[in-house]
């Protein structure tokens, strides 16, 4: 589905990612783990086209690395951004409609918005409230649902657990697990290695802008060792 080779990402004069290869086969969930500043979000920005990069990014065989952001969204890349960046002043419903900004089939969009309201009744109850008034967990649900509104081929999730209470994190990961079982292809960026390994097929560990290790998720056990590496906390 997504093939990245020799990707280098720069922010102005600083190179954040120094040439990495990542492969996300269709229907799988791949985790991209690493500490702060390892280059995880930079990698996602390069895939969506919001950061400057060199190297090749192929989506279903097509080289998309020279395409502008809109064209990449149209080809099926959707991002649920870090820090639950929902549109604060737009209502919950409007946020979902924005997720479908590239689509023109209004009737189907309205149907899918209703689908999410039944799926997450809490969002349905608050459909006319500004998204900024939702709790952190609700905003994260909204951000993921919004990303899916573009009917992506691959969903990029940037630290969905960041800053949420453990119970809420469990619900968000439950949601991701469900998406995966429905066949959605996912590239998951996380610091919470234990939780991410639990629902991934393949794992890449980033360290200072390079892939320091990779393998089947099962090979990493419960991720405790990895968690030590990433966070420096020995449990």
């Amino acid at each position: 589905m997504l093939e990245i080779s020799n990707l280098r990402v720069t922010h102005g004069p600083i190179e954040a990612v120094h040439g990495i290869d990542i492969s996300v086969p269709a229907g799988t969930c791949v985790a991209l783990l690493g500490a702060n500043g390892a280059g995880k979000t930079s990698t996602l920005s390069a895939i969506t086209g919001t950061a400057k990069s060199t190297g090749t990014i192929r989506l279903e065989g097509e080289d998309i690395s020279a395409l502008p952001v809109e064209a990449r969204v149209k080809r099926g890349i959707a991002l649920s951004p870090e820090g639950r960046r929902v549109f604060y002043n737009l209502s919950v419903r409007e946020n979902l409609v924005m997720g479908a900004a590239i689509r023109k089939d209004k009737a189907a969009i309205a149907e899918e918005v209703d689908h999410w309201f039944t799926r997450f009744p809490i969002l349905g109850e608050r459909r006319d409230q500004p998204a900024g008034t939702l709790s952190g967990g609700e905003q994260q649900m909204l951000a993921i649902a919004r990303a899916l509104m573009s009917r992506p081929r691959i969903l990029l999730l940037d630290e969905p657990s960041l800053g949420l209470a453990p119970q809420i994190v469990e619900r968000i990961f439950e949601m991701i697990r469900e998406l995966r079982s429905q066949g959605v292809t996912i590239l998951l960026v996380e610091q919470n290695a234990t939780a991410a390994i639990g629902l991934s097929d393949h794992v890449y560990v980033l360290n200072n802008g390079l892939v320091s290790s990779q393998g089947r998720a099962a090979d990493y056990g419960n991720g405790a060792e990895l968690m030590d590496q990433i966070t420096g906390v020995h449990g």
Partner: protein
């Protein structure tokens, strides 16, 4: 039509009803001189609603509206004024500007075309900018246009009045224009483009990552806004009979921006309420300025009070209600809130 647009129709109808009530009250109880005040208020209303389209939805401050309004007013005035009159008022006009005259509708269309064209031209630059860049460029446009008005005296008469413009519009017609403007602005706010523009205002990178073409969305809003200003300028020239460069400058710019800020720039209802409140307030203050006698008490003359009060209102609103009276709310939200408060939600 999506649910927001359906609600938008209801909101626009309610705002129109408010406008009609005010006009009705004038016809029932008003005095003749108040027609002029009401007409001026409605011209301001057209401008502030136009400001809401770009500034309100995109959250980018525009100060150039008075320039576009002036361009339309001059264009319409030069087209519509009879040749015999232009021989006196514009004797030195170049390019045969004083040798033709057009009907009022054609003149209005020419003025709309010229203003819209200039809107498109400037929009190509403005729509690429963000934040304070937009504000600076808009001020530059205002200053450039104003100095052309002042110094091309052969066409614009500078500080002198360009007179002899036939009176084409009156209160009923501008009321109709205001109502159309309310529906149009609200329709735009709830449309696909309006929504994308408001999303960019919250998070531009986020909106781009969803595939929004920020440039195109901003350009559409900018040009649409200039058309509102054009209609206001034409309505201004077609009622007053004389125009000069002075009203299309900073004083007017700040007055209308204050109206938008007071009401709340994110909603069309805010634009309408802000304009009506400040207009009523200013009229009251102007009356107080002259030193009237209230209940046997003779008040002193206080010239300049209106300018002072305008400043106080802006400072107070910014301090106490940073997003204006209405914030994100439209008029129909107020009604729904009340309804919800009466019937407690089932748990």
């Amino acid at each position: 039509m999506n649910p927001s647009q359906r609600r938008g129709l209801l909101g626009s109808a309610l705002l129109s009803l408010l406008v009609l009530l005010i006009v009705g009250a004038y016809y029932l109880w008003g005095e003749t001189w108040q027609a002029r005040v009401l007409y001026a208020t409605f011209v301001n209303l057209l401008v502030v609603i136009g400001l809401q389209v770009f500034t309100g939805n995109a959250n980018l401050t525009n100060f150039s509206h008075a320039a576009f309004m002036g361009i339309a007013a001059y264009a319409a005035a030069i087209c519509v004024t009879p040749v015999a009159m232009k021989a006196i008022s514009l004797p030195d006009a170049p390019w045969g500007l004083n040798a033709f005259e057009l009907g009022p509708w054609t003149s209005a269309l020419v003025a709309l075309g010229i203003t819209g064209g200039l809107g498109l031209l400037t929009g190509v630059f403005v729509a690429r900018l963000t934040g304070v860049g937009v504000t600076i460029v808009s001020i530059a446009i205002l200053v450039i246009v104003h100095s052309i008005f002042l110094h091309r005296t052969d066409i614009f008469k500078g500080n002198q009045a360009l007179f002899g413009i036939p009176k084409v519009l009156d209160l009923p017609q501008i009321t109709a224009l205001v109502i159309i403007a309310i529906f149009a602005a609200r329709w735009f706010r709830e449309s696909r483009f309006g929504l994308q523009l408001r999303a960019c205002a919250d998070d531009e990178i986020g909106a781009r990552a969803m595939g929004v073409n920020v440039f195109r969305t901003r350009l559409i809003a900018w040009v649409l806004g200039t058309l509102f200003f054009a209609v206001a300028g034409i309505a201004y020239a077609f009622f007053l009979g004389t125009i000069s460069a002075r009203p299309f400058y900073f004083n007017f710019v700040f007055l209308t921006v204050a109206m938008l800020i007071l009401g709340g720039l994110r909603s069309v209802s805010g634009a309408v309420f802000g304009t009506l409140l400040i207009s009523i307030g200013l009229e009251t203050i102007r009356w107080l300025e002259t030193g009237p006698q209230i209940a046997g008490l003779k008040l002193p003359q206080m010239l300049g009070l209106s300018g002072l009060m305008l400043g106080v209102v802006i400072v107070a609103v910014m301090a106490l209600l940073p997003s204006g009276l209405m914030g994100n709310l439209e008029i129909e939200d107020l009604l729904r809130r009340r309804k919800r408060a009466e019937t407690p939600e089932p748990r």
